[in-house]
């Protein structure tokens, strides 16, 4: 692995008495998509803001890699010391899309390009590329405030990329979007990443992150619990499967009463569904089917799911609990 472009070292950040980040350390590498996952209030947004120097940590530091001189080892500087340089390094799309509502898509890109001190030519060139990349050609001259949620999100990302930054930071990029739009956004993020942009994102859509992120950092109570690729995390943390069962008439108490407890990690009845977590799907499933037959239960729905990042996350958070 190459040298990281950002180094987060022992960073602690508090708001008043509330310690949001507690001595966290991790690296960001060029070209990767780093997903940061954590419950609300766990400090995801704070990490992102601290990463680029919006927030000054009480302890620790965030370092960014300055331009490399040939033959000279990589040099790192604090993001707080060179804000102008750092701001050119990244593009940031926050949870709530941020742009000028009363300007058109094109005007927005031109406006923010201008604020980055880009030349007119560069602004035109980048705008055209981004409008195409974000599939906003039809809405280029539409005033931003009447854009749909998905378009807003795409415009926001486009605005973040207008100065062609090497790093794109996305905070909940698919929040409040429907599955189709979410997929579209993930596609775009993937495309951007393929173009060589490093992406750091915070999201709750664990399933989608699983397929997209190179590495994932689990954040809890201001601490990084684990950082690694999705596969590494699944192997390391989650090792169970979930059986979802819906029967008629649904007397789940009788169905599960004789199942050997040693196989069951948890069992829940939510609505008219029975959810069982187990490390041994085979014996549990066999027992369940036997019991159903015995109790004359009719299967309405049955599903066995493999562990996902969501499971990993829950396992991690419940462990803490």
């Amino acid at each position: 692995m190459s040298e990281p472009i950002f180094k987060v070292r022992n960073v602690s950040k508090a708001f008043g008495k509330n310690l949001v980040l507690n001595n966290i350390s991790f690296d960001i590498y060029k070209g990767e998509i780093l997903g940061i996952i954590g419950a609300s209030g766990s400090g995801k947004t704070t990490i992102l803001n601290t990463l680029i120097g919006f927030l000054k940590p009480e302890k620790g530091e965030v370092l960014f890699k300055t331009k490399l001189q040939p033959g000279i080892p990589a040099n790192y500087r604090s993001v707080l010391t060179k804000q102008d340089t750092v701001k050119h390094l990244y593009g940031f799309a926050a949870q709530v899309p941020s742009f000028q509502e009363n300007l058109t898509v094109k005007e927005n890109l031109e406006y923010f390009g201008s604020l980055y001190n880009l030349s007119k030519t560069a602004i035109q060139k980048n705008s055209t590329i981004l409008i195409k990349l974000m599939n906003l050609q039809m809405s280029a001259n539409t005033v931003a405030k009447i854009l749909s949620g998905g378009m807003e999100r795409r415009l926001d990302i486009a605005c973040s990329l207008i100065h062609n930054p090497p790093v794109l930071i996305l905070d909940e990029p698919t929040a409040d979007l429907d599955p189709v739009l979410r997929d579209h956004i993930w596609d775009i993020i993937d495309k951007i990443n393929r173009n060589g942009t490093t992406i750091v994102l915070a999201s709750h859509h664990l399933i989608e992150l699983e397929s997209l992120c190179s590495r994932i950092a689990f954040l809890k109570d201001g601490k990084i619990l684990h950082v690694g690729s999705p596969e590494e995390l699944k192997i390391k943390v989650a090792n169970f499967q979930e059986i979802l069962l819906e029967t008629y008439p649904g007397d789940y108490k009788k169905i599960i009463e004789n199942i050997d407890e040693k196989y069951i990690m948890s069992k829940r009845i939510i609505g008219n569904k029975l959810i069982i977590r187990t490390k041994n799907v085979g014996p549990v499933l066999k027992t369940l089917l036997d019991k159903m037959q015995e109790n004359k239960e009719t299967i309405v729905d049955i599903n066995v799911s493999k562990q996902s990042l969501d499971d990993v996350f829950k396992t991690l958070t419940k462990k803490q609990k």
């Binding site: 742009f99 509502e101 604020l115 609990k321």
Partner: protein, 673 residues
């Protein structure tokens, strides 16, 4: 380039927000246009006045006619209540009730009652003001007549006085004459000789005795003579032939007569003595009378003296009276103003405007322009800042490499451009409404407007940076503007406020700017006059200080933005695909877990998720659990209410399940059978 881009963006933002654009750009222009139309006329506004008079007295009729002549719309009502009702209905602005038998008399106080609607204070005072003027004219007319009568009476008294003084002088002379007469009388009285010489009756008696003796001796002598004559006759007769008989006879007759006479002498002497005695008695009486006369004379003299004293007193009295009359006369003479109109209205006011314009607008205009400029600048710049702060682009702007002061400058320049544009339009409108030259010293006026606009824009921006909501910015801007306004001459004369407030008011930038602008608008004044340049320096100082503060506040405001953003970002997160609600360390996936979490959490924690109009639990229940009914019920509920609701809901479901279970059992039982 960046600055221009931001200004362009500001204008686009403003113009594309139609409501704001209209209010911001056309609002002030509309105000100035309306004010121009309202104040350009010098004619009196028409007010509707109701009147009620029980009888048509001359005065009330005259008064009503005066009102009508003064362009008031006057409606006469048949009853006082009717008149009052019309005020309540808003058909008239005031009801004037004239007293019964309305006339000027000593024994009568005339009270005209005005019924007004106090809830419409401004209107009331305008109407009162207009009516006062009218009433004053009528009162002056009445007073003039009365005063004229008084003055005429006074001068009549003066003339009478003069005549009376002459009479008094004559009386005084008469008194003096009387006194002189009395003195003469007194002298004459004194000159009357009432003395009497002692009449010696003894001497008379002695003389009578002497007379008796002498008579005896005379008798004796006579007798001797007779005897001698007889002897002589005898001798003659005897010696001569001459008869002596006749002679002798005559002598004898003589002797006889002598004897008779002599014989009568004692009697006569006695008679004489009686006469002397009577004379003595008469003389005694005369002496007595003379003594009485003397006493009477003395009495008269005393009376005369008393009368003289009385006359003196009278004269003195007349002197005092004369003096009083002369004082009255002198006082009347001292009355320099004897014209009734001058007495009623000794001072007549005539307002000669220093400036040539003759409409209210020309006088109001500088204050009005500054007032609009102040509110416009404060509200506009404040709105720009808060719009920018609250705009969705604020975060993105912050992520760019642009320096913060660009936004300060761009907001300032955008506001300034709009204000300059409006001021130009206002001045153009003003030149249409104001007769004569609207602005005397245009460059200086523009400089003042520029400095004032700069300060007020900075002030507005400061407010915008300090407060985050448009409502707060509007309220604070209006409050500060109103404070400036109150501490100025615009609403109440500055001299009538407390000395402390006056001291503050002189540093009021609005007062300074208005005063400067008024001077340059109405008078051809130079920048080099001390009052001008000193105030200009004040404005510059204010603007520079405000600019410094703005930069600092902007910096703090931006920093606070992130702090706030993070402090408020601790709510739950919904993971729709899993229907999980994550509350910090707790992951909630159903109502049971939510109930459990609600029971465990404290109210502080609860308030982090349910605040203002946001209720995370309600939203989660609806969006993730699909229970809209429960979600609705959970809105605006406390933690305990929410716990109770959930328990109730869960119990209901449990009952349903039991019922369902029993039904199923029965079903299987039936099937088994």
């Amino acid at each position: 380039m960046k600055l221009l881009t931001i200004i362009k963006k500001n204008f686009k933002t403003l113009l594309r927000t139609k409501g704001s654009a209209f209010v911001t750009i056309f609002g002030p222009l509309l105000v100035i246009l309306l004010v121009g139309l309202a104040f350009t006329s010098t004619s009196k506004s028409d007010f509707s006045i109701g009147t009620f008079a029980k009888d048509d007295s001359v005065l009330s009729v005259e008064y009503i006619n005066n009102l009508k002549e003064s362009n008031f719309i006057v409606t006469e009502y048949q009853s006082e209540q009717d008149c009052i009702d019309k005020i309540q209905e808003g058909k008239i602005h005031m009801c004037i009730v004239f007293p019964e038998d309305f006339e000027i008399r000593n024994d009568k106080t005339n009270e005209i009652v005005f019924h007004v609607d106090n809830s419409r204070q401004n209107m009331v005072y305008q109407v009162m003001n207009a009516i006062d003027t009218n009433l004053e004219n009528t009162s002056i007319s009445l007073s003039k007549d009365i005063t004229q009568t008084i003055i005429e009476t006074l001068f009549f008294i003066k003339d009478e006085n003069k005549r009376d003084i002459s009479k008094i002088i004559n009386y005084k002379k008469d008194i003096d004459d009387i006194r002189a007469g009395m003195d003469t009388t007194k002298g004459q009285l004194d000159s009357i000789d009432l003395t009497s010489d002692e009449v010696g009756t003894e001497d008379i008696t002695n003389k009578v005795d002497v007379l008796e003796t002498n008579a005896q001796r005379l008798k004796d002598i006579g007798m001797g003579v007779v005897n001698q004559a007889l002897e002589f006759a005898d001798l003659v007769s005897s010696n001569t032939s001459i008869s002596t008989t006749e002679f002798e006879n005559q002598i004898e007759d003589l002797e006889l007569s002598l004897k008779d006479e002599f014989n009568q002498t004692p009697y006569k002497i006695a008679q004489l003595k009686d006469a002397v005695t009577r004379t003595e008695q008469d003389l005694g009486k005369i002496e007595q009378k003379l003594n009485l006369a003397k006493a009477k004379r003395n009495d008269v003299k005393n009376r005369l003296d008393s009368l003289k004293d009385d006359l003196n007193s009278l004269k003195n009295g007349l002197g005092i009276l004369q003096q009083s009359f002369e004082t009255i006369d002198s006082r009347i003479d001292q009355l320099t103003i004897t014209d009734a109109e001058n007495i009623i209205k000794p001072i007549t006011t005539k307002i000669n405007p220093v400036a040539s314009e003759n409409t209210k607008l020309s006088v109001l205009f500088p204050g009005l322009v500054m007032l609009l400029l102040m509110f416009l600048a404060v509200l506009l710049s404040g709105s720009f800042v808060v719009m920018e702060k609250n705009s969705r682009s604020f975060f993105r702007t912050f992520t760019t490499s642009i320096k913060e002061y660009y936004f300060v400058f761009s907001t300032y320049l955008t506001s300034l451009t709009i204000i300059i544009g409006q001021i130009i339009i206002i001045l153009l409108i003003a030149s249409f409404f104001i007769k004569g030259q609207a602005v005397h010293n245009l460059p200086l006026s523009l400089l003042i407007l520029f400095l004032a606009a700069t300060f007020f824009i900075m002030l507005g921006m400061g407010i915008g940076y300090l407060f985050s909501s448009q409502e707060a910015v509007t309220m604070i801007s209006i409050s500060i503007g109103s404070l400036f306004l109150l501490l100025s001459d615009t609403i109440i004369p500055i001299d009538t406020i407390s000395p402390n407030a006056q001291a503050i008011a002189q540093y009021n930038p609005y007062v300074i700017a208005t005063d400067l602008f008024r001077k340059t608008m109405l008078f051809d004044i130079s920048i080099f006059e001390s009052t001008i340049w000193l105030n200009l320096v004040w404005l510059i100082v204010y603007s520079v200080v405000a600019f410094g503060i703005i930069l600092a506040v902007n910096r703090i405001s931006t920093t606070k933005f992130f702090e706030r953003k993070h402090l408020h970002h601790h709510g739950p997160t919904m993971m729709k695909e899993d229907k999980n609600l994550v509350l910090g360390q707790i992951v909630i996936s159903d109502k049971f877990e939510l109930l459990d979490a609600l029971k465990k959490m404290d109210n502080n924690e609860f308030s982090k998720h349910c605040y203002e109009h946001k209720n995370e639990f309600s939203i989660w229940t609806k969006e993730c659990l699909g229970d809209e009914k429960l979600s609705r019920m959970m809105k605006n509920k406390t933690r305990y209410e929410m716990i109770a609701l959930l328990e109730q809901d869960l119990n209901k479901n449990k009952e349903k399940k039991v019922q369902l279970g029993t039904k199923t059992e029965n079903m299987y039982e039936e099937q088994g059978k």
